[in-house]
Amino acid sequence: MSAQTVSRNAVPTSPIPIDEIDLKRHPKGVMRWVVLVVLGILGLIIVAPILLLVMDAFKSNADYSANGPLSWPEGFSLEGFKAYMEVVNYPRALLNSIVISALVAAFGVVLSLMSAYAIGIGRIKGGTAMLTILLLATMVPQEALIYPLFYGAQATHTINTVWSVIIVFTILQAAYGTYLLSSVMSTLPMSLLEAAALDGAGRWRTLWSVIFPLVRGTMSVLMVFFFIWTWNEFYIPLVLLSGQDSQTVPIAIATLQGQNAVNVTAMNAGSLLSLLPTLVFFLIFQRTLTKGVTLGAVK
């Protein structure tokens, strides 16, 4: 934390609300509308590709090639979706994605809790070294692990099964989770533990009845993040899940890229289908995602 450079008590709080002060400078308040419009346009530019994608996914092929991407659809066509479903087993990919992301989120959070308990509460020797290793694990680029993992997955026959990816990402996500939960736990008052010890609670009971309730909030945010990070992963699933039956939603569409067998409207429909689950997830957990982003950012 940077030191406060301004001493607080020297600042008189203003009796006038701040917007009135600003309004004095811009009597007509025109400026605020200009700023709003500029920001609004920027926001629209950012979401424009997604909005256009939704519109174009329902165009027929003929309509798209005749009128381009910017015109309103001539009719409501499901051609693209049908074509996409013919080349990709979308329900299967969706199921794979859900299974992988949900299991990684659940396993990852439990693993983070256990490891953080040992480091943050147990203060075991070498805890700091362990945290350093875990932090490095989150930084190492995936291409530095991929070939040995690919090789190991072949040797253990887990390649092209969801298990290879579940094991890898549970560990990679829990590395971050352990780091974060350890720092949360190290701020907990020691008196809680003493009280638990006086009550005769063992390690296991202390973890679940004293510590867990206190870090539950952080854990649920972590779970949401593990789920969405795993869902969006690309490099490792691309290599470990090349088979049709084990592909995740993003991999299924990425492998079609550049193949002439699939036309633009089918790709758009596929993109929309691949985007939909994360969009739904985003709307449900919007608050958690935008608030939780700062998790562990500043200690």
Binding site: V11, I46, L70, P141, V168, I171, I253, L289
Partner: protein, 319 residues
């Protein structure tokens, strides 16, 4: 993180039985809680990484092909490999598109939303705008790549159709022209990244004492003055975190290149991670791919460590 063990302050004259027992078993039982993570990290990170470093000293085509020890050959070849160095220059482009522009723009946007829009209109307007900017962050990166290859397509692409609407006749061949393809990738990663600093900075601003802004406004400080004198100094820790994490992700960029350009045209958009991938799975030069990824890992760790050290030194100087 302090690792100083503060012994429980239990009165020594009447210690509970549990405390005495715990002293003996402490070292053992906490290790049990860490064991699964230790084993997992060994299997998934440490052993593969070690093996990757080991492979970088060999020539190997993968699979059942013979492994021939080659010492530092791969490293020597890499140092004079033009494709690697141009990939490195492309990494600098990624730093511009992921670190520099989004962080500066994100600061201005977060501050506008927090210190202007929220106060001039209301929090809902600011939240909606924030959500719009954050949306690309949750799009799966593979899907984002597909969307952008459609946006940037030369024929009937969204961007060129818009340019055509403005009456521009010589439409750029975004993904086919070696001179501009890298800018197309930069455009996409900027779009992906922008929401992240905005969200982090906005929640950082919530912990700043509003009295600071009010006093500055009373003293007649305009928005820009408040931006430079209050916003930036107050949220420096978050700015540092954003720059650090964004730098690491800039050096790791892979999916946008694979999906948008496949490293082309004429290798003009190859980045190191993609070059390693190509050596592993297309060119069957596993040893060489390992060398590239080892060099990149060391580079990322050194940069991260240097940034953290620099940050810590600044803090101690201030204190």
């Amino acid at each position: 993180m302090s690792t100083v063990i503060e012994g429980p302050a239990i009165a020594p004259d009447n210690p509970p039985a549990e405390a005495i027992k715990a002293k003996g078993s402490r070292a053992v039982s906490y290790w049990l809680y860490l064991a699964p993570m230790l084993v997992g990290t060994l299997i998934v990170v440490l052993v593969p990484f070690g093996y990757n470093v080991y492979l970088s000293f060999f020539h190997w085509k993968g699979g059942l092909a013979p492994m021939r020890f080659s010492g530092l050959d791969n490293y020597k070849n890499l140092m004079v490999d033009e494709q690697f160095w141009s990939g490195f220059v492309n990494s600098l482009f990624m730093i511009v598109g992921i670190v520099i522009i989004p962080t500066i723009l994100g600061l201005i946007l977060a501050s506008s939303l927090f210190d202007y829009i929220s106060k001039q209109f209301n929090d809902t307007v600011a939240s909606v705008l924030r959500a719009l900017l954050y949306l690309p962050q949750i799009v799966p990166i593979a899907v984002a790549g597909i969307i952008w290859s459609w946006v940037l397509a030369t024929q009937n692409g969204v961007l060129n159709s818009v340019l055509e609407g403005f009456g521009i006749s010589s439409l750029p061949d975004w993904l086919g022209n070696p001179n501009i393809a890298i800018y197309a990738v930069v455009l996409m990663v900027m779009w992906l990244q922008l929401g992240y600093p905005v969200v982090i900075f906005m929640s950082a601003l919530e912990r700043v004492d509003p009295a600071l802004y009010e006093a500055a406004a009373l003293d007649g400080a305009g928005w820009w003055r408040r931006f430079f004198s209050i916003t930036i100094p107050q949220i420096r820790p978050e700015i540092f975190v954003v720059v650090l994490t964004a730098t690491i992700s800039a050096l790791k960029v892979f999916a946008p290149v694979l999906i948008l350009t496949m490293g082309g045209p004429e290798g003009s958009t190859v980045v190191p991670s993609f070059y390693a991938y190509r050596n592993f799975f297309e060119l069957s030069k596993v040893g060489y791919g390992s060398t590239i990824s080892t060099v990149m890992s060391v580079l990322i760790i050194v940069i991260a460590w240097a940034m953290l050290w620099f940050q810590r030194r600044n803090l101690t100087e201030e204190a």
